[in-house]
Symmetry: C2
Subunit: 274 residues, 2 copies
């Protein structure tokens, strides 16, 4: 299989450039990419150092490196562009057309996107994360009035990572409520959820996948038996149907896909944009 | 202030396109952007619907919308490109040069980046998240041998969100250990950390910022007094110095910046790439 070295070079955290590089490069399935992330390249000198590293690799390997860059300052970017790699910089590609469209020059300010330029945004994410932590696994029901969303599902259906992702990525206040055996047997919604039905969203998963996840966690007792898993999932899905709770099957979905689907379905607003 | 509507249109979750749009648009400080995210636009019909929405807004507002897109299928993208907005699509901009460079066609496959195409990657993030949850706030010290990193700092210095972000974004196993008053007074590293010193990274923060955060949380008692906050931070920083623990001041840093700095300083490998 072909192999290529990829440099992800950013004047700040490299979070956006990494995501972009990943989206682009995963389109070439039969190439293996070895990724080197270099964040905080915010001076000409640092750009020159990275360019030297890229040139070093370029000489050593059969093909030149691919460089995914996000450098907002022209003079820093120009330094990097002198390297032997193929440099794809999204500021370079898109700021020009945006300047024309908006009829003004961009500010070329570092770190506006993932920096602390907006402390309100930062605080919102921290508060949302605290909320998710303190209302994880059925805790903190007294704060449900603050929740944007209450995720409901059986143990290990993906509730906790989804809540945390929604908090960190979008500042959304998401609680999660695990369906316990009493809830599943009674076929009723737990009383603590009275008045919050409109906030509930259900997660379900295939019995095979759930068994597999539970087996890795605890292989003794009935927790991961086919019978138990089948009973819980069937009862949970019945509950969702009976109370018209929207739900998503997480079996083949990533955390991003689950989160994005829920926001799209419910219309819950992203409080911050990553 | 000028106002513009921005559509973020993606055939999958829109996570990457949102990050890209945010990086680009925050460069234009004197324009207010109203963002509408439309994920899962994966057919020509859906692209036509979005184009119609964009055209509707375009007629109603003084300026046409800006459209940040990530549509990997040519025929879907072509449908969207017919709209009246300014469409900036990163696949459109970068796949061409990459195909030339790699000397092969891209697979035009949906959702490779944030999808479940790689279950190992998915499991790694979930496991890392479980690890962060179960070793939050000094819990789970018996699992420290599994940790890539142990974040140490006083209460509310940013440990928990950073650990969760490292888990969800990079699959990094990060525990966090809060410095309690006993630790700070003794001036010694807690015994449970014996043997794990190389994994410790310190977080510190300015007294003013810490007071502000603590006051929001609990305004009674000495928790948020200037005296207490000064004592804790001075003692923590002394500890970091004495035991040569690398540290970062989180006062003006976002979660992404803290995470990125730590990975850069320590050389801890990203287990997954977002």
């Amino acid at each position: 299989m072909a192999e290529r070295t990829v440099f992800v070079v950013s004047d700040r955290t490299a979070v956006t450039a990494e995501a972009l590089g990943n989206s682009l490069l995963t389109q070439f399935e039969d190439v293996t990419f070895k990724q080197i992330t270099v964040p905080f390249v915010d001076t000409k000198e640092k750009a020159r150092d990275v360019a030297a590293k890229i040139n070093f690799i370029s000489k050593r390997e059969a093909s030149r490196p691919i460089v995914i860059a996000s450098l907002v300052q022209d003079e820093v970017r120009e330094e990097l562009l002198k390297c032997d790699g193929l440099v794809l910089d999204f500021f370079d590609a898109f700021l020009g057309p945006l300047e024309v469209e908006l009829d003004r020059k961009c500010s070329h300010t570092l770190g506006r996107a993932h920096g602390m330029s907006d402390p309100k945004r930062y605080n919102m994410r921290i508060e949302a994360t605290n909320f998710a932590m303190s209302s994880d696994d059925g805790q903190g029901v007294q704060h449900y009035h603050q929740a944007d969303l209450i995720l409901m599902g059986v143990s290990r259906s993906g509730k906790t990572p989804t809540c945390l992702y929604l908090a960190l990525q979008y500042g959304v206040f998401a609680a999660n409520y695990p369906l316990a055996e009493e809830d599943l047997e009674s076929g009723r919604l737990p009383q603590v959820l009275d008045g919050f039905r409109a906030k509930i969203y259900g997660l379900t998963i295939s019995p095979e996948r759930l068994r597999q996840i539970r087996l890795e966690r605890r292989s003794v007792g009935r927790y991961a038996t086919a019978q138990q898993v089948n009973f819980e999932l069937r009862a949970a899905e019945n509950l969702f149907r009976r109370f018209s709770i929207p739900s998503i099957d997480t079996t083949h979905s990533s955390i991003e896909e689950i989160a994005s689907t829920i926001l799209n379905d419910t219309g819950i607003e992203r409080r911050v944009h990553s």
